[in-house]
Symmetry: C2
Subunit: 142 residues, 2 copies
């Protein structure tokens, strides 16, 4: 199995609200193949898709019940501390909940968290140990 994540699909409770958050609030370009049932955003090498939570569970054939911490987080890394603060302000302006204001962290960087309309966590971080490549991807060594 090749090391590859093609899409990250968030199962959302209100697709209109989530689409508005990512497209209009954060300003992410939505792919024209999106439709009333699903939204796709191209984000570097991975596609973010938004799909109704119960339909995502149905697709996998699992119960859609679930509550509390979903057990994962997405990270959006940027090139400086200032941009961390800017991005958190943008997200909050778009309706996100500020979960943790950015602080200097033990691993030498600066990071904070916001929650999207479903409570999914986004860490916004500057990490001087892992520089970003020209295409914005994180350069971790082999």
């Amino acid at each position: 199995m090749e090391p590859r994540i093609t899409l990250v699909t968030l199962g959302v409770r209100d697709l209109d609200a989530s689409r508005a958050f990512y497209r209009d609030g954060l300003g992410w370009p939505m792919s024209s193949v999106s439709n009333d049932d699903v939204a796709f955003f191209r984000t570097g090498g991975v596609v973010l898709s938004l799909y109704p939570r119960h339909l995502l569970a149905d697709d996998a054939g699992v119960p859609s019940d679930g509550a509390g911490f979903p057990g994962f987080a997405l990270a959006h890394n940027v090139a400086s501390k200032d941009v961390v603060d800017e991005v958190l302000r943008t997200a909050v302006g778009a309706g996100a909940r500020l979960v943790k204001p950015a602080v200097d962290v033990f691993w030498g960087g600066y990071s904070g968290y916001f929650a999207d309309p479903d409570g999914f966590l986004w860490e916004v971080a500057w990490n001087p140990g892992f520089p970003l490549g020209p295409d914005g991807t994180m350069q971790v060594p082999d």
Copy 2:
């Protein structure tokens, strides 16, 4: 905020088991910057990281309680139906649970699901409508 996911971090209950699943079972190359507390895998443009669930919750400052459907899925797309079946066999051989055997699906492709050691869902799919680029990323139109 630029459209970018830098890392996908899975909060895992047993880091040794999860690391073994991805590194040894699926055969994904682990970055040398991994340590006893965290594992990083470079997967195209996005980094997959494995981090203890309670520490991930602590990092964000949220309760780590949570149960049931985590509300998201990762997808691994491949170039043919045969490879879907192969990848599902590999994952099951590595200890994954087969959640849904691959079937022809309404959107014209072929897909199945497995669950990793924490129950996180991976869809393995062939999608003739969204071809894969030379670097393995999905080419969704603007």
